[in-house]
Symmetry: C2
Subunit: 412 residues, 2 copies
């Protein structure tokens, strides 16, 4: 990520099909104040806070598990059909902190390991590195996760004396693959996790952006009957990254070091108190205000974004098909049904040196897929993102990318 930032800085005229950031045309500076006021009104009118209590809530240290948990629970009920006790939610400093907290709680011994579908979101592998938890890759399939390989990896790990604690998965329009799991695979994944006694860490930043309603699948958490799923929530794409507000739903029962039974959420809260104390109540109030303004549903609130992403991805997928009609040439791409990302596969190795050439000589930025695999693994794929560009920029960017790829194919 740092390398990408550095490159975009050095080549400001390059078109970026790299960044997985939300569209910016819906940001309004004065909405921050409006959201803040809306949340304060909620504290006063709905929760009966005095003026002094409102001030204290915004300015003072506060509840470690957060102050918008009840609104998040309402949001999950409305948008996801997930019904949970707000006490099982920990509001976090973005989804990144949520990942850290869960991994830190799960990593109790050197033999504890995490399974993740390769390619995997780099934020997850970063958090795993911080807690020194080994990550064992599981093969991906057209449907997202190769479930047979998942079972194989669990058993191999156990045979090697390791303890697989959880499997991380992004079932909807995954970063970086763009792929979604179908319903049958979701059910089978849940059954495997329950049978094997591992948790599923479900990360869902893009679920509200399917191209059509019928392409929206139920989350694992909504299908979770045995509390097998720890749900990692983000508002970065549905509200704004700048609030740095995310959350984790952890309604599992756990036994702590002193033998007491409690919620996993409370164990995560204890870790959070040693990491960031609590998530900024001012930032939470901004997100809370946006939730309140939209009756706690973000589905309708993000229709504009969804239309942009759908249009852009159509332009991107059709543009790739037009520029690389001949699959025999060895250049392929997928066609995700939602989200931000399309993967282009090529018959040559892709790395940051190629990206640097792409930026300098061709004027187009993308993300090398090798970042999402184990270090040293040769990878022949490029991730394109359609979220922060215009259709015209996509066309120009693809022209430039096609020139790069064709030059590579011709050995130049």
């Amino acid at each position: 990520m740092n390398f990408l930032n550095e490159i975009s800085h050095r080549y400001p005229d390059a078109i970026s099909l790299a960044a997985g950031r939300p569209a910016e045309q819906f940001f309004q500076t004065d909405s921050i104040e409006r959201y803040l006021r809306r949340f304060c009104l909620h504290l006063e009118q709905d929760l009966g806070y005095s003026e002094e209590e409102v001030r204290r809530t915004l300015f003072q240290y506060g509840r470690t598990k957060g102050i918008v948990h009840h609104l998040i629970a309402a949001n999950l009920a409305l948008d996801e059909g997930v019904f949970i006790d707000p006490e099982s939610i920990v509001v976090t400093v973005g989804c990144q902190e949520a990942m850290y907290l869960v991994l830190r709680a799960l990593r109790t011994a050197a033999s504890d390991v995490l399974l993740t579908v390769a390619p995997t979101y780099v934020g997850l592998t970063g958090a795993a590195r911080l807690v020194e938890m080994p990550v064992l890759p599981v093969a991906s399939s057209r449907g997202g996760v190769d479930l047979d390989d998942l079972l194989r990896q669990i058993r191999q790990a156990r045979a090697a004396g390791l303890r697989p604690r959880a499997c991380y998965v992004m079932p909807d329009f995954a970063n970086p693959s763009g792929v979604s799991m179908d319903l049958a695979d979701r059910r089978r994944l849940l059954a495997i996790a329950a049978a094997e006694g591992i948790l599923l860490l479900e990360d869902n930043p893009y679920g509200l952006f399917p191209h059509t309603d019928s392409q929206r699948q139920p989350t694992l958490k909504s299908l979770d009957e045995q509390r097998t799923v720890v749900y990692l929530g983000s508002f970065a794409k549905t509200a704004m990254p700048g609030a740095r507000v995310g959350y984790v739903v952890a309604d599992q029962s756990v036994v702590d070091s002193s033998g007491r039974t409690g919620l996993l959420a409370d164990q995560l809260s204890k870790i959070k108190s040693m990491l960031t104390v609590n998530t900024s109540p001012i930032a939470q109030a901004v997100v809370g205000g946006k939730l309140l303004e939209n009756g706690c549903s973000l589905l309708a609130a993000t229709e504009g974004e969804r239309a942009v992403y759908t249009d852009n991805m159509r332009v991107m997928v059709e543009g790739l098909a037009a520029r690389f009609p001949d699959v025999e040439g060895g250049v392929g791409h997928n066609a995700p049904t939602g989200g931000f990302f399309v993967v282009v596969t090529v018959p040559f190795r892709v790395d940051d040196a190629l990206l640097e050439r792409s930026a300098a000589d061709y004027g187009v930025l993308w993300t090398s897929m090798h970042h999402f695999y184990e270090p040293g693994m040769p990878v022949n794929a490029i991730r394109l993102s359609c979220s922060t560009v215009t259709p015209q920029q996509i066309e120009t960017g693809l022209d430039r990318l096609a020139r790069l790829i064709n030059d590579q194919l011709r050995g130049r």
Copy 2:
């Protein structure tokens, strides 16, 4: 801390001399919007940002090291006489994240250990627990740190095959002891650290609250000629805890795992990118706006708070002297020259069971000093805080505390 919150919840009528929170009478809800606008104006007028760039700065993902680093550098120059390159600052999610980042960077092997003056702030020991870094206590003295013991501990640790990486210290009106180091001790501490090749982690949340100007000492960082000091900064007491904005100054040169030399700040930034990605720019803008509104100095901006803390501590220290005039009775207390905390020593063991009785039967809350020492160590001291109470509440609280102590002395 959780236990304290729970107790104050169960006994809402108890007077709290426990919480180390800032005074609340200076919080104004509408100041948040004013600060936000002031910061946006700064981006436009001083830094030449377009409207779109301002929006992007607030709403989008942003610079990992933060967006108010230049204002913090200006603040340190004005208020502390510390002159550093803004690039050596990482803006963090409160000072707690700063502590975590530094310890995570320092803990590279199982033999790495941290030294801290006992009693130590619990946030530090919490962060050390998360990174599994052993904490070796150094004896305290009337002047803050027993420097001979520090040397002894460094040598003993080395003899035991351990590698002391740093010593954590709060030289000004420490939490929990209230004690400040004098200038001679500061200079000797710096010399020891430089000679022994360890870093000093200087934490300074209370430095702006001396009772008189002459009781203000230069920070270690301002005396630091050899980049021995990593400075941990907080805005919780000078702006507001609710922004969750702190920072670390890490201008040390370090060699990373790939052999490249760089700033420690950049290494911390990498860790931060895996922990919280970046500190909420909205929260940073609030703190930035407060800094800008005060010409980047928080000394004048916190004169009201300082007067409150000074008055309150006078009432508390005089009240203790009046209630326990006879040192022979075994009850003593210190008289800090600033900050929030006074320590009362008693001739009996203090723990959370006694606090619970104090809350239930006497109606007064305080903090047991055993939380600031190694687990299991018997401690005969109470921490009182004067920051969020009125003089009248202090008087009533001390009456209640005196009844508890006298009952304990009489064996009831």
